[in-house]
Subunit: 201 residues, 2 copies
DNA sequence: TGACAAACCGGAACACCGTTCCGCATAGTT
DNA sequence: AACTATGCGGAACGGTGTTCCGGTTTGTCA
């Protein structure tokens, strides 16, 4: 029971006790996350911070306190779905040969990106507010996708010199195309071409 | 000589005589274009309008009068280099077999994009200020690149179901990757994969 | 319980930026 | 020289990200 005391850190080595966050702070952080989810769905991930704050019944300062970077808020909102997409890769790898698993997974990825307005664009925008996004995105997806690539390399159906860290950003960029591009190219067709290029020669 | 009169339109059918622009207006438009070229090189194509105006020794209103959309200014600044890139496609098609010509041309395109800071990103940003950019971009490049694709289809080395209008945006997106992505993937490698996928099966 | 310090809050304030608008200046014409 | 329409400058407006601080709330300790 005495373990509950904030002053008794589990890890004695850590510098200074990281006093527990106040209850109202966590409440507000969650309210902001929920509000952001709504607003992102309606107006995209680049919606004004003020609107998110207003929707959460909170001041803008509070938003920035819990989520200093816009990307922190985006990750918090989409983390679950992002991890689900990663699990799709794992499941598909178990049920299909590698090439087919990868092809099907690109659909899953495209679905994820298509339903998060502005996410794909933010991913390669270069905007500092989104800077940590690509790495976090990759961090979740790459391990599972790499597993498919490894299987494909092992059974000789895929080339071995492309890693998930290269492939996923490329897929993300190609997925972002489509009607909103101004040119009505079909995104999935170019993705299929890319996957064909991934086949072992 | 009487032909010089503004009141004598060459095409009688057109509605109203399009009075010639004033001399100071063309001077200013050119000064703005030159200033924009400098500023774009230093700060990217999304540099503040005010800075371009200041550099040109002109008010912001004057910038908007000659170039209502940001994309108008961008096109004006890069038109020559863009057309040179299109000519590269023509030249390469004459000197190499189609697949090799296309491979070399992607390098030319990547060079073009790499030296125009922010251009590639603007191309697929969805920002209304850049809306006409993709179409103008394609309008210049597509005819020459399509020629390569046609040659490749004719000699049986390339698949026939991909058109330049689909391929070029994809190449543009993949070229935009690289170190600035946050992930240090090598853009040219994924482009090579895409080109491999373009080979006839 | 009451008091106190640390943590936290709200939102005004500041710094930019794109874009518009209009009184004034000037080029071109008669 | 006088006149007109064309063009000019830059103030002004609306919107946005981000910071900052006086005041409030929470958790703790006596």
């Amino acid at each position: 029971m005495s373990q509950e005391r904030p002053e008794s850190p589990e890890s004695p080595e850590s510098e200074g006790a990281p006093r527990r966050r106040r209850a109202d702070a966590v409440r507000n952080a969650e309210a902001v996350r929920a509000a952001a989810k709504q607003v992102f769905a309606e107006s995209g991930v680049d919606a004004p911070m003020r609107e998110i704050a207003a929707r959460a019944g909170v001041g803008v300062g509070t938003v920035y306190r819990s989520y200093p970077l816009r990307s922190d808020l985006i990750i918090a909102v989409f983390r679950h779905e992002l991890e689900a997409t990663a699990q799709d890769a794992r499941a598909l790898a178990d049920e299909h040969p590698p090439r087919e698993a990868l092809r099907l997974w690109t659909r899953s990825l495209a679905r994820f990106l298509a339903t998060k307005r502005g996410f794909a664009t933010a991913l390669h925008s270069g905007d500092p507010a989104y800077a940590p996004l690509p790495a976090q995105f990759l961090g979740v997806l790459a391990p599972e996708v790499q597993r498919i690539l490894d299987l494909g390399a092992a059974d000789g159906t895929m080339r071995r010199d492309i890693r998930a860290e290269d492939l996923i950003p490329a897929l993300g960029r190609l997925s972002d195309a489509g009607p909103a591009d101004g040119t009505d190219a079909d995104a999935s067709r170019m993705i299929d071409v890319l996957l064909d290029g991934l086949a072992a020669r």
